[in-house]
């Protein structure tokens, strides 16, 4: 069933409306609120449906970047991959692991490659980000862009990795962030190289400098 129908809202509902719909319905169907209710079993089923619908909508709306899930962070696998000296093959292997969200294994493959090309930094950035190493991820993505400034894929990755910060700055203005935009010049340095390609990347931060 369509998750929006479960919550009784339209697909254009705002995030807040989705949250409110979830609250209303989850209160109504919550197992604790229906002890002794003849429909209890049915309501409990409904409660689970509401939870799943909410999660589906939010995951879809806020995709973020691939991230490991709880309980899966330190899956240090020795992995079966044997580097044969063919870099192209190793990159394909790493990409496969990234696709399957097996970031540590992706890094294990990448670490066997000696010659670190821009491609290496690109894949390593995604894998590190997935492992929660977001400082290193941005550094690597930046390195990939520096090595090959015209590569759209690298630029998009860097932009994506920095996306949360842009969103955060916008929202924090409503809450009187004491820092304001004072540090934007530093930020500009990172964004500068992107501005040539994606004007939206800077999103008005130029104004204050």
């Amino acid at each position: 069933m369509n998750p929006y129908q479960v919550l009784g809202i339209s697909p254009d509902a705002s995030d807040d409306e989705v949250k409110k719909a979830y609250r209303t319905l989850s209160k109504k169907y919550h197992p604790d609120a229906n002890i002794g209710n003849p429909h209890q079993a049915e309501y409990t089923e409904k409660f689970k449906e509401v939870q799943t619908a909410y999660k589906t909508i939010m995951d879809e709306r806020k995709k973020g970047f691939t991230q490991q899930t709880y309980g899966n962070q330190s899956a240090y696998s020795t992995g079966g991959y044997q580097y044969s000296g063919n870099d192209q093959e190793a990159y394909q292997e790493a990409a496969g692991f990234i696709q399957g969200r097996r970031f540590q294994e992706a890094l294990n493959v990448l670490n066997q490659i000696r010659n670190k090309s821009s491609m290496w930094f690109y894949y390593a950035a995604i894998a590190e980000n997935g492992l929660g190493n977001n400082i290193r991820a941005q550094e690597y993505a930046q390195t990939a862009v520096n090595m090959e400034p015209m590569n759209m894929q690298y630029i998009l990755l860097l932009n994506q990795l920095q996306g949360h910060q842009q969103q955060y700055r916008q929202t924090s203005q409503q809450y009187g962030n004491p820092i304001n935009m004072m540090n934007c010049c530093y930020y500009m340095m990172c964004m500068n190289c992107l501005s040539v390609f994606c004007c939206s990347g800077g999103r008005g931060y130029y104004m204050c400098c």
């Binding site: 609250r23 955060y168 929202t171 924090s172 409503q174 540090n183």
Partner: protein
């Protein structure tokens, strides 16, 4: 490690500030009720935040009552209590105990030894109450101690350990929100570890203590660099926060995440500027 996750008071509505106070005092009362009067010194803003967050997410039945407190003898205080604040008080014991242990190892401080011995019994009790959770938390905390001894300065690696501690703390129960809670806590934990290092850097250099930012400190752009990585962390944390269906307490929580969290950073910046003059 404590005192960074605070509200930005001037930007908070009065009713929200009062509510925040009721939670803060509520955590204090919960410490007293479950761990005894002697444990109340462990009260802190950071775990108050965790209590308010979980309360906002699960909307439990709360009781509000008036109490008289020796610290505020004239005006009676309203305090809130619910099982999430009780949970936060249990976690407070664990983290404070570790912090005191850390201080003893760093400075061999007598004061810390005394406080730690006060908490001994309560620490064991909480450990027995959530054996698996506490074991996972302690594993990460011990890993930090180990990496610090090795003088490791890999920012992601070490702050990530404290990230996993906070991630673990944020998960109250096994449900569909646990991944988002974990990730929110993970990046908040990284933020806390890093800003703690940012605050202590000069003193750590002076005393020849470990600090993972030592190598960065000589750079001209040290402060901007730190700001950028801190923002990297809190922005990711806020991303996962926004996925949670929180309406109740949302204004307080957003005030903290989007603004209050920088209060300490600003203070440190100001202090450094004045010292330079």
């Amino acid at each position: 490690m404590f005192g960074y996750v605070v509200v930005n008071k001037p930007e908070l509505k009065i009713k929200d500030y009062e509510k925040y106070q009721q939670y803060y005092c509520g955590l204090c009362q919960s410490l007293k009720k479950t761990h005894g009067k002697k444990s109340q010194f462990t009260l802190n803003n950071d775990l108050t935040f965790v209590g308010i967050l979980l309360t906002g997410l699960y909307e439990p039945k709360e009781t509000i009552k008036k109490i008289r407190c020796p610290l505020h003898p004239i005006h009676p205080k309203l305090v809130r209590s619910n099982n999430y604040l009780d949970y936060a008080s249990d976690i407070t014991i664990i983290l404070t105990y570790y912090k005191l242990d850390d201080d003893i190892q760093d400075e061999n401080s007598l004061k810390s030894k005394v406080f730690k011995s006060i908490l001994d019994k309560e620490f064991q009790r909480v450990k027995n109450k959530y054996p698996d959770k506490v074991a996972r938390i302690l594993k990460q905390l011990n890993e930090i101690t180990h990496l610090e001894k090795q003088n490791n300065d890999d920012l992601d690696l070490i702050s990530g350990c404290f990230g996993r501690v906070m991630g673990e703390i944020m998960i109250y129960q096994d449900d569909i929100f646990k991944d988002d809670l974990y990730n929110m806590g993970f990046y908040l934990g990284k933020f806390i570890y890093l800003i703690d290092a940012f605050e202590d850097i000069e003193e750590d250099i002076k005393k020849n203590n470990y600090n993972l930012l030592k190598n960065k400190f000589k750079n001209d752009d040290f402060q901007d660099y730190c700001y950028n990585i801190l923002e990297m962390m809190i922005s990711k944390s806020s991303f996962y926060f926004e996925k949670l269906p929180i309406i109740e307490n949302a204004d307080i929580l957003k005030n903290i995440i989007y603004s209050g969290i920088w209060t300490k950073f600003e203070l440190i910046k100001k202090k450094r500027l004045e010292e330079k003059r």
